[in-house]
């Protein structure tokens, strides 16, 4: 039976996709490029992503095609296979990057003496357990972890109120700051374009009519949280400190100083934050499984366990060290991600057209 998720769960999944992974170290490069005006980037990003979402969904009137996109075991045309292959490439790059980012973060901040391969194995055992249980479980776990994270991140500006320095946000933007904002926008786009992972589960949304609205709300939620983190980081730490920091978000939450005895709240927040990265990687692993199932024309859950370890080892072997990962994430991924996302979007329009024609043909037959 096909698994179904609600529009609310879809919104949380999308928000988690664009917040959980990028927040590890992306603020550093955004702030480096955009300087004190970088906080405007999520606000500019939102209408552009909304217009892309409208291109994907089209009019909300005739939405029957949505239930028949990329179904496992159904007849497929070559364009759908091309889409799946490209999607697979996109997912593998993202999961390898995010998993290594998470492993490096844990190895640097939380468990400095634990070897990377042990961190990978233990993480993968948890992730594969969530992913193998199916989309509904991934969505429910994301619902729990992301809701808690949302509350905490939304509270961040208030928790840090005593550390704010408005001088860090000045001078406010003028014509001269446009190139800096555009550079920051370019760096951010390929990361925020990861909302397009929802394309693989587009037929699992119930009710289908609310799918477009859910993706728009999810994108808004994710970008709002990202805006909160960027703005708070700028206001509290300023660009000079942030551009030198590998983990600016961690540095930000380390500044929370409510009372004399509550000075290690960063650990509590990190404990809430890490599960959201786990659920994002679990969703990506589920997406890989879905792609394999589509190409195999049957359920590939039984092969997912060794595949998960292969992905885990790829994340360790593809990058020599953290600097190599950051170099790939900050400079190479921008252009590769952008190309892949635009290609996927373009090909999906043809896939959509094919599915629509097939649905109309079947309706005419009956």
């Amino acid at each position: 039976m096909k698994q179904k998720i609600s529009d609310f769960q879809l919104a949380l999944l999308v928000a988690n996709l664009i917040f959980a992974g990028p927040v590890i170290s992306l603020p550093q490069i955004i702030l480096q490029q955009g300087d004190q005006n970088a906080w405007i980037v999520p606000i500019i990003m939102y209408p552009i992503l909304i217009s892309l979402i409208f291109i994907v969904f089209g009019k909300n009137k005739n939405i029957d095609w949505l239930q028949n996109v990329l179904l496992i075991g159904s007849k497929s045309k070559w364009i759908e296979k091309v889409f799946i292959m490209l999607f697979l490439l996109f997912v593998i790059f993202t999961i390898v990057r995010d998993l290594r980012g998470m492993i490096d973060f844990v190895a640097t901040v939380l468990l400095p003496t634990t070897p990377n391969d042990i961190l990978m194995v233990l993480s993968m055992l948890v992730i594969v357990y969530i992913a193998i249980s199916g989309l509904e479980v991934v969505a429910r776990v994301t619902g729990i972890t992301f809701s808690i994270l949302f509350i905490i991140v939304a509270m961040l500006p208030f928790l840090l109120l005593n550390e704010w320095n408005f001088g860090n946000l000045q001078p406010l933007f003028g014509w001269g700051s446009i190139p800096a904002i555009l550079r920051a926008f370019y760096v951010t786009f390929s990361w925020m374009g990861e909302i397009f992972f929802f394309l693989i589960i587009i037929s699992n949304i119930n009710p289908a009519k609310k799918a477009r609205r859910a993706v728009i709300i999810g994108t808004g939620l994710g970008l709002f949280l990202f805006f909160v983190v960027l703005f708070s980081s700028l206001a509290v730490l300023g660009t000079r400190i942030l551009r030198e920091s590998t983990y600016p978000s961690l540095m930000l939450i380390q500044q929370i100083n409510i009372t004399d005895f509550l000075d290690r709240l960063d650990l509590v927040i990190t404990v809430v934050w890490l599960p959201t990265i786990f659920t994002k990687v679990a969703f990506l692993l589920y997406a890989i499984n879905h792609c394999f199932s589509y190409l195999y024309k049957g359920n590939t859950n039984k092969f997912l366990f060794p595949i998960a370890f292969i992905i885990g080892y790829l994340s360790i072997l593809m990058f020599k060290n953290t600097m190599d990962l950051l170099r790939f994430s900050f400079y190479t991924w921008n252009i590769i991600g952008l190309i892949l996302q635009l290609m996927l979007l373009f090909i999906f329009l043809f896939v959509k057209r094919n599915v629509k024609m097939r649905v109309e043909h079947n309706e005419a037959k009956t």
Binding site: P306, I307, L317, M318, F319, R327, Y331, T332
Partner: protein, 74 residues
């Protein structure tokens, strides 16, 4: 031997035993199980001997990084 590799090997052995004992896979699907387990095993060996696959990343960095560096401020 690295501890991570031992854990992965044990996991893979348990997986193969489980899959065969419970008859989850058909005869036709056996080749896929062996293929995936074989690749995972090979990658653990690569990790043991510190044989990095960073050539892929280096190739991508060399090919595409230049474009990004033209746009961003260094």
């Amino acid at each position: 031997m690295k501890i991570g590799m031992i854990v992965v090997w044990l996991c893979l052995i348990f997986y193969v035993l489980f899959v065969f004992k419970k008859k989850i896979i058909s005869k036709k699907e056996r080749k896929w199980v062996f293929l995936w387990v074989g690749i995972a095993f090979a990658m653990s060996i690569l990790d043991l001997f510190h044989l990095s696959l960073s050539t892929v990343t280096t190739f991508l960095n060399v090919t595409f990084e230049g474009i990004s560096r033209m746009v961003v401020k260094l």
